[in-house]
């Protein structure tokens, strides 16, 4: 069965086009080279042991984060096998085995072989311990990666699970955007890493991590304590077995029902309806109501919103930890920016549900459709982000920051809102269709949107930022607040307008992109040239990964 599954994996893989595959390959090769460099260049056995612990921890960490960040959804989904007359747990184990086939695991093995080298260099008699440790490390890292990924997917079916996933995702995002601040001191000290190793607290923390246990086993054996060596390796082997068993269980096809029968009305049903509805009886009111409910109730959308807030909070906390406490005051601003990125693929999020918009197209419905979405995001993020920053300012007593924070909030709420609407239309990238979603990153890939946002937000906010800097020097920072308003609102309005105009022109094409996949979508675009929007769309087609089964 395993051989068949592996072949199926390759067959499916051949039909998937990947834009980020090369980046992944470069990172894997680079990581392997770095691991071996550290192992070979280390000045002594002790330093090598120390550096290997670091490298192996980074490898395990990459396995935990990698699949979630790179949309590396396993192409073999366990629900494909639900109906086969096979033991569910055997299918789960079979699927786990397929995870070990590929470039990533191969490079992990090559890197883990540095442990065998360490063993040989320390004392040739310990080589077999190094080899055993190497194999266990690969099995542990790959299984752990799948375990975390599936656990995150399973979490999407309960509110508390979604909350935990949001915290985790918020941490990842905060780490990606602001992690360099935390890592920087380590790198400053890293000039003579291969001479002295890490030392200090970092070394102590590292030596506790499970991925360090095989290294500790080799070290113990090399110093003659064979009993201790076997204890370390035995402990790691046991942990690996437990990880494999749990992962196999999680990968087994699930046969439980899709939804949980609720005991009360779904969230938000009372606020928006009834005789005295908050929303006007217009198409725009209808869209805002639908969007707000979807943001409140859809775990995948909830994940975007909550993780933006958590990421803002964690970036602030990272600032506190690394002696840049001012960052905390701007945590709401970061939340707004990250929410903008999360909202930049709304039509991809909704998948083929766009058909309703197509067949219900009225005189102004596309305008209302886009404007309603813009209003909903602003209503959701602006108050929460303001609260986050306001709380930080009040608690710290740093009231001088108020005009800066307010100006940034105003301009970024507007600019990122407009960009989110525009990119949602132009660079729409579908994921797994909403009613078939399982895993946390089954929504469409949005890396193109994230990169464009990072470039376009500062560019489009530059008038406010310029006045902010000028005001800071002049001692009159409040000037930037009205400028931010005059900058943010028109940009949101204008980009929203470009978005619905584009949708009006290319409504069936946008639906085709979602329904039939990127190959068919390419047919409707000029192969080169065209306007900026055509180029953006081609860019997204070339870069964003397709995680949707193609064809009809």
């Amino acid at each position: 069965m395993v051989e068949l599954l592996i072949r199926l994996k390759f067959t499916l893989g051949r039909h998937t086009t990947g834009g980020t595959r090369w980046l992944t390959v470069i990172l894997l090769v680079g990581g392997t080279a770095a691991t071996w460099f550290l192992a070979v260049a280390a000045a002594s056995d002790a330093v090598r042991s120390n550096l290997l612990m670091l490298a192996l921890a980074v490898w395990a960490g990459s396995w935990i984060l990698g699949p979630t960040i790179t949309n590396g959804v396993g192409v073999l989904r366990s629900q494909y096998f639900t109906l086969l007359p096979l033991d569910r747990n055997r299918v789960g184990m079979g699927l786990l085995v397929t995870m070990f086939v590929g470039f990533g695991p191969a490079m992990t093995l090559v890197s883990a072989a540095a442990l065998a080298w360490h063993a040989y260099a320390s004392d040739p008699a310990t080589l077999f311990l190094g080899l055993l440790g190497m194999l266990a490390l690969v099995v542990f890292s790959v299984s752990l990666g799948r375990l975390v990924f599936r656990a995150l997917g399973a979490a999407m079916h309960s509110r508390i699970g979604m909350e935990i996933a949001s915290v985790q995702w918020g941490l990842i995002v905060a780490g990606l955007f602001f992690g360099w601040v935390a890592v920087q001191p380590a790198f400053v000290a890293a000039g003579n890493l291969t001479e002295q190793g890490l030392g200090g607290t970092a070394a102590t923390v590292l030596s506790v991590l499970p991925t360090s246990w095989p290294v500790l086993a080799v070290d113990a054996a090399a110093s003659g304590s064979w009993a201790v060596a076997f204890a370390w390796l035995g402990a790691f082997a046991s942990l690996t077995v437990v990880t494999v068993l749990v992962t196999g269980r999680l990968l087994a096809p699930s046969v439980s029902t899709r939804g949980v029968r609720r005991r009360s009305r779904p969230l938000g049903s009372r606020v928006l309806e009834g005789r005295r509805s908050w929303l006007p009886d217009t198409p725009l009111g209808a869209v805002v109501g639908k969007e707000l409910r979807s943001w409140w109730r859809d775990p995948w959308r909830g994940l975007e919103l909550r993780s933006a807030l958590y990421a803002g909070l964690f970036i602030g906390l990272l600032g506190l930890l690394t002696d840049i406490p001012q960052v905390m005051l701007f945590s709401g601003v970061f939340a707004v920016l990250i929410m903008g990125m999360g909202g930049a693929n709304m039509y991809g999020h909704d998948g083929t549900a766009l058909w309703l918009t197509v067949v219900g197209q009225g005189r102004d419905t596309l305008r209302e459709e886009v404007r309603g979405r813009q209003i909903a995001i602003a209503v959701l993020i602006a108050p929460l982000a303001t609260l986050l920053s306001a709380a930080a300012i009040v608690v710290s007593g740093e009231y001088w920051a108020a005009p800066y924070v307010l100006a940034c909030l105003l301009v970024f709420v507007g600019v990122s809102n407009g960009l989110a609407a525009l990119l949602s239309v132009v660079t729409v990238t579908p994921g797994v269709d909403p009613h078939k979603r399982v895993d946390a990153n089954d929504t469409g890939d949005n890396q193109t949107q994230v990169w464009i946002m990072m470039l376009a937000v500062p560019l489009l906010s530059s008038p406010t930022l310029a006045v902010l800097v000028w005001g800071a020097f002049q001692g009159s920072p409040w000037w930037s607040v009205p400028v931010a308003l005059l900058n943010g609102v028109p940009v949101a309005w204008l980009l929203g307008r470009i978005a619905y105009r584009r949708l009006e022109r290319r409504l069936p094409e946008t639906f085709t992109r979602i329904r039939y996949g990127k190959e068919i979508a390419r047919q409707s675009l000029p192969t080169n040239g065209g306007g900026l929007l055509d180029q953006l769309e081609r860019g997204a087609l070339a870069t964003n990964e397709e995680i949707k089964p193609t064809g009809s």
Partner: protein
Amino acid sequence: MTSTEARKGDVPALELDALTKTFNETRAADGVSLAVPRGTMLGLVGPNGAGKTTSLSMAVGLLRPDSGTARVLGVDVWTDPVEAKRHLGVLPDGLSLPERLTAGELLDYWGRLRGLGRDLTRTRAKELLQVLELDRAERDGVLVAEYSTGMRKKIGLATALLHAPQVLVLDEPYEAVDPVSARVLTAILRRFTDGGGTVVISSHVMALVEQLTDRVSIIADGRVLADGTLGEVRGTDATLEDTFVRLVGAREVGEGDLAWLSS
């Protein structure tokens, strides 16, 4: 020609005019032309992958044709989509909906987006949910995401009917629908055509089409092989299935084939 003039004249309710679409060198629809008179029910039948969904998608504005066009009551779907879509009710097959709404909330959104206003939308939505037996799920606050396949068909049908269109295009409306609901669906469609409405349904089930519709089109490999009243298409064949098999061709199961099944 405006829609009002068109409806006065003898214009087909739905007209597919030489619709052609090629996907990656595969011709999914090859000059599909059909004219559906007002007040009739047309069954579009064909083997899997024949181009039924592709043709219907082009007819309702979901997929832009490479060439050809479609008209609803004389209004061109591709040059005047807003006017054409006012008269159209559509039920596609297997697509998503705003999944995190209840059926009632979905219809409320849909009706108001279509400009029906809150009160009219609520009255119609309530009645539709009752007739389609979705009212209990609505009381329990069940979200569309939690619906079964058959229930999804029914709420999809409700969205197609809510604005009281004149032409209904339904892709596989009976699939996964239980027998009781199927009877309700048939009754709804009959009432609709009796009132002058026009229905196009696609289906694999010949017996259903034979029993339900008064016109039939057989489509295979993206081409229309036969089109007309049930009697015209069937000709001297005993059943529609015989006609279908004669036109489309079928692989007979020979004596020795699949012998292992009876072992």
